[in-house]
Structure formats: structure tokens, C-alpha cells
Symmetry: C2
Subunit: 237 residues, 2 copies
DNA sequence: AGTGGCAGAATTGTCCGACAATCCGATTAT
DNA sequence: ATAATCGGATTGTCGGACAATTCTGCCACT
């Protein structure tokens, strides 16, 4: 039962301008890499003050649609990096107080599929990145922070190797949410480290040999383990 | 092989301030619903000009961490709405030129699982929303735009009924990406509408009866159909 | 020709002050 | 108690200003 009258929200100028520029970018009439006109120039074109333009630009900058290459002054049209986007998503999720179970169910849906496609499509470079993350986990297994970072990198590498940007971008926020939980788990459940290491080996091996089914199954087991670990850990409290 | 030297990027003041406030919000010392101090006040507290504060605020506003209730002037701390967040993600994906296959694989990973949990956990209200979206598709089947919107609503309702915010938020961006493709498909493939309608009925029915397995399986078939439809449609070009 | 250096123009980040429109809150009138 | 009113507070936008940095075209030099 949709409302008959939609609220008329008068967008302030900075928002309207942001929208117009966004349309230009999404519609490709401003192409990636193009430099944005100077603020003064934009102010003149839109017939508003430079301060207004700046507020509009900030909006696009945080969306990742504008950015600057290091050491450069002028803004350029940019394609939003997955990292930036996903950090926004996980911040949102964190603020909504997601439970571990919710996170786990989502991982269970995405990670095994990503592993499966990774086995089918990984490039040598992607395989190498993945193996290296696994090796780093082994090496830094004593340092909790580094170990957690390595686990996250492993998942990221698998997702990247899946050759599917949508899966990769859906998976990325999960990593950031996983990190804190995983840190506690790895510290409190003694056998966690060994199990992670074993699972990563199996998964990497399957992906190396292009065994899709095996990769999926091992990833499933791997993720299941997280739930078990989490249960063990929370029993200890 | 991490770089030895990290690029030192001097964050401008507006970015630093945005970060500080963001920390306060994420760390809950500014709680949801709290009004933000006035711009003048913030300028005084941070010891910068109001223009600088405004640029910082715009950043948080676009992240959805600040917002205002309709007709109100002052900003309040807000929890980012899924819609806003997911629209950012799908814009990013669109700019990265994702293929239909990528989108489809991700849907295949997420939607059936969402349907499965929805069957297990849906509330009466959620079920009703879902059924209503299905009914709307039937009613508006002639109007392509409305029909596509109804399909999107159906998926959204299923995800919401899954009782899993992470799944819901992972699923949301897929909808926006699906819409344009689905519009073309529904127009060009004559049998598409009937098949969608049948699938929605089956899915809604399974969710109503709390048959998790059935819900998952029917959703899988439903999504598979999209791929078939897409292939048919692209053959006609 | 290609390279390096340099001065001046352009651009960004930040500041100051100002003003209309609107919202908020308290006071007053019914 | 409710309604009307009025002044203060707040936001959106404007104009101008200036230091710091980057960009650019030009010139000299090898």
C-alpha cells in the first residue's frame, strides 16, 4: 500500500550537484581517469559558490567515485575500490549488531562457492597469492594479529581467484566482520590454529589441482570449523 | 611482499575530523539517535572553521552515519540503511562492468540459502510482505517496469524474511544489478513472465509451510531460469 | 634532441565574515 | 491545557582572502 503522496524533500544544492556529477560518471560521459574540472570552474558552471561545490565533491569522494593519484592535486574520476566499498558495508553491519551466526551463515553461503570457482578459474598469479597467504599464516602462527590478518588475506585471495567480482565484493565485508571474532577464537581455542592451517592446505591444494568439488567441500568444512570454534570459545566464558 | 615504506599521506583536516567523529559513532560513544552538536559548536571544539566541519559532516552523511528525520534541521546519528549502503555497492559493481554470469553466480550462491532460512524463520508479517510482492507481480505482469519492481521486491522480501542481516545486505546490491537485465529479458522472452510467476508461487508456498529444503530448491530452479532466459534473450539479438 | 631548472599561473585547503530561511523553544494569550 | 507568537539558534549559501602546493610553459644547458 504505497503512500499517495511522496514527501517532497528539497535537496540542498550540494546534493543536487553531487547527483548531477554522479550521473555523468555512472553514465560514462565522464570517463574513468578523466580529471575533474577545477573547483572554481565547476562553481562557475553550476553558478554556485565554491564552498557548495566542495561539499558536493566530498560526497562523491567518499563514494569512491572521485579520488586522486598520490601526490597529485586535482581530483580524477575513479572506479570505487572494493576495499573502500566493503569497509562501508561492514561498518553498517557492525552498527546493526550482527551476530556471529548471521555472519557465519553468510560465509557458509559465499566462501565455498568462491572456492569452487577459484579452482576452476584461478590464474597462476592468483594461486600464488593464495599460497603465500597460507604460508604466512604458518609462519606467523604465533602472532595472533598477524595470523588473523593472514586468514583474512587467504579468504580474500580465494575470492579474488574466483574471477567473479560480485562474489569478491560480497565476500569482502565478511572478512572485516570476521577479524575480531577470529582473534578471540584463535587465542582461546588451542586447536584452532592447527585446524585452520590444515584446512588452508587442503583448500589451496584443491585449487592448485583445479578440483572444484574438493575445493568447495574443504572450504565448507573450514567454515564449519569456525562455528565449532566459536561455540567452544563462548563456552569458556 | 609488503612495501617497506608506507606512503605518508597527510590527511586534510576535514578527513581527520570525519574519522574522529566516525570513531565516536562506531564506538557508540555517540549513540544512534543522538543529535550532533551544531556546526558552530563542532567548529569551536575542533578549533577549525565551520566550512571545514561541513565538509567533514558531508562525508559522514554520505556514509549514512548521519542523517536527519524529515522536516528536522539538525543532524542525528543514524544507522546506515541497507538501501543506501547497497546502492553504493551496486554502483561500484556497475562501474566495474560485471557480467551477467558474475551476477548470476552470486545470486545462485545467496538467494537459495536466503530462501531456506526464510522458510525456517519468517514471521507472519514477513510472509505477508513476500506474498504481496508475488501478488503484485501477477497483477502488474503487463507493465514491465512494475513487474520488474515486483520481482525485486520479492527477492528483497525473501532476504528480509531470512532473519539474517548479513545475507540481506549481501543480497540487496544484486537486485539493483538484476533490474536492467531482467527488464530486457522479460520483454523479449515470452514465457519468462509465466515461469517467474510459477516459481514465486512455489517459493512462497514452501516458505509459508516452513519447508526449508523445498524453498531452497525452488529458489535454485528460479535462479537457474534467469540464466536460461538470459541465454534465450541474447540469442535473439 | 633531450634534460633540467625556474618563474609564474592555477588549484586546493582553510579561514573569516555575512545573511536569508527555517526550525526550536519558551513565553504569552485564549 | 491549547494555541499563537516571538526571538534565538542552526543550516545553506554566498563572497572574498591567503598560504602551500602543484602544474605548465619557457629557457638554458649538455
Amino acid at each position: 500500500m504505497a503512500d499517495l503522496f511522496v514527501p517532497l524533500d528539497d535537496h540542498p544544492a550540494y546534493r543536487q550537484i553531487a547527483n548531477v556529477i554522479e550521473q555523468r560518471i555512472v553514465g560514462r560521459s565522464l570517463r574513468t581517469g578523466d580529471p575533474l574540472p577545477s573547483e572554481t570552474d565547476l562553481a562557475r558552471q553550476f553558478g554556485v559558490n565554491r564552498s557548495t561545490i566542495r561539499e558536493a565533491i566530498r560526497e562523491l569522494e567518499t563514494h569512491g567515485l572521485l579520488g586522486r593519484v598520490r601526490g597529485e592535486k586535482r581530483l580524477r574520476v575513479t572506479r570505487p575500490e572494493p576495499r573502500r566499498v566493503s569497509s562501508g558495508v561492514s561498518r553498517a553491519l557492525a552498527l546493526h549488531d550482527v551476530t556471529f551466526l548471521e555472519l557465519w551463515e553468510a560465509m557458509m553461503a559465499i566462501e565455498p562457492v568462491a572456492a569452487q570457482y577459484a579452482a576452476a578459474r584461478r590464474t597462476p598469479a592468483q594461486l600464488q597469492a593464495l599460497v603465500r597467504a597460507g604460508a604466512r599464516f604458518k609462519r606467523e602462527v604465533a602472532d595472533t594479529t598477524a595470523a588473523v590478518a593472514a586468514v583474512v588475506d587467504f579468504f580474500t585471495a580465494v575470492a579474488a581467484a574466483s574471477g567473479n567480482q560480485v562474489l569478491a565484493l560480497s565476500q569482502a565485508p565478511l572478512n572485516l566482520l570476521l577479524a575480531p571474532t577470529l582473534t578471540r577464537m584463535i587465542d582461546r581455542v588451542p586447536q584452532a590454529r592447527a585446524r585452520i592451517q590444515a584446512a588452508q592446505d587442503k583448500i589451496a591444494h584443491a585449487i592448485k589441482l583445479r578440483r572444484s568439488e574438493q575445493a568447495r567441500i574443504w572450504m565448507e568444512k573450514h567454515i564449519r570449523d569456525f562455528k565449532r570454534g566459536h561455540e567452544l570459545e563462548s563456552m569458556k566464558c
